[in-house]
Symmetry: D2
Subunit: 140 residues, 4 copies
């Protein structure tokens, strides 16, 4: 399924250098390969909502980036169709969050991914499940 002639490493490099929002969030990739991605970031003031907690959209976005890096790793352009996120606990400014994306299914056209975010006490913050559609176009 991976005969796109581009390695996971190259895909990640291409995606990262153009991904302005991932840059804005300050996501740091810790590990990456075929079907997985692990990253972390620190919550900053611009990421807060009206109740002094992290905006749910930031939690989603960090998971969504990890999802994208994991599902595109096979070299074909792969787009999110449906995502669900369940929120477990609030997060404050300054906390360090770790996000881990795992491929739980890879079919011809569809991949399914499980992404979990933990805080620095290793407590779960949110649970993201995403389904992606695999086009036949190679990345770059």
């Amino acid at each position: 399924m991976d005969n796109s002639g581009i390695t996971a490493e190259e895909v990640l490099r291409v995606m990262l250098e153009r991904d302005r929002f991932t840059q804005w969030m300050g996501l740091v990739i810790d590990d990456h390969g075929k079907g997985f991605c692990k990253l972390h970031f620190v919550v900053k003031e611009e990421m807060l909502n009206g109740f002094h907690n992290i905006h749910g959209g930031i939690l989603f976005s960090a998971s969504d980036s990890a999802f994208a890096f994991a599902c595109n790793s096979h070299g074909l352009i792969t787009v999110a169709l449906d995502v669900t996120i369940s929120f477990a606990r609030p997060v404050k400014s300054g906390e360090l969050l770790t996000v881990e994306a795992k491929e739980i299914f890879l079919g011809n056209k569809i991949g399914i991914y499980d992404i979990r975010t933990n805080n620095d006490r290793n407590e779960p913050v949110c649970f993201f499940k995403g389904t992606a559609y695999r086009t036949s176009k190679p990345v770059r």
Copy 2:
């Protein structure tokens, strides 16, 4: 259900003035009241992903803000539990997006909201459904 002694208008003002990420996105509220919210924004370069489209996290975040403004409008602090988003079409930099949140259920403890985002040709961009838990604490 709304005897919190605070109007929808006051809730919105309190939330908006502290919501750093909503400010960063440049969301503009067009309409707001008990159980609904309508807003718009323009997609900027910092919101793009590695494929020159809007990052899915931004689409989620704008819907999530509309969701939060709608579900907190009754005056009680209300937090997102579960959200699902389905993506229909890509969006480029410079496009104007309209986001509309409607309350489709309001119970004692739970509210359910339907949030839709359209582009400026009035084509659907994404569909967001969110469930929120209503605490007994008033906003502010």
Copy 3:
């Protein structure tokens, strides 16, 4: 998108005559056409869970049948990828439920559907959102 040479009416007839579980549930189609379906059923004892309410799986199943009838109506075999359901209130044996499926997006490969179930006081019971993948194979 509908040049499959089979009408919505024929698709429904073909699907219904073979759909053993829809038959078991006693679903009655009230209206059907390209991209929509309306049906009703009465909750029976075999549909209850351990708390004397309707089993969540039955609510899902009735919506899922309406979803399938709506998304296959264009004549191409169309399969569910992702579904989310939000439960609003319990239902007892003997209640009459109405289920309405609407197409909210139809693309080349993907359709998105909104399905709502109401009780006979017209109160919402559950909200179902489904994404389906359109194969290139005609029904039958």
Copy 4:
């Protein structure tokens, strides 16, 4: 969190003896305890849809039963709020399916569960994520 004065074993017995739809599906519990449940069943003709595959509603229902047995195991009546299911592959009549529910978060009011269904070649069939609201009423 479990001081309801009823064991997981008793909860399961009470729920099972009244759960007519779980009985109809022929679900067999293989393992059960605080926060988890494992069960299996064999797909029968009455469970098929119009394309000779298992009806998506049955896959959901079996997962939903495992979810209910897992989340009520702590002794408080616990109800599903939101569920998402992603379908990975079709299933035919006669196949044996295994369903495993795990608690991935337990808070005061909310529990989050991950339920996976595999076929007898240990291939994934569907992925179910559910959020439940914990009432303060004990089971029975």
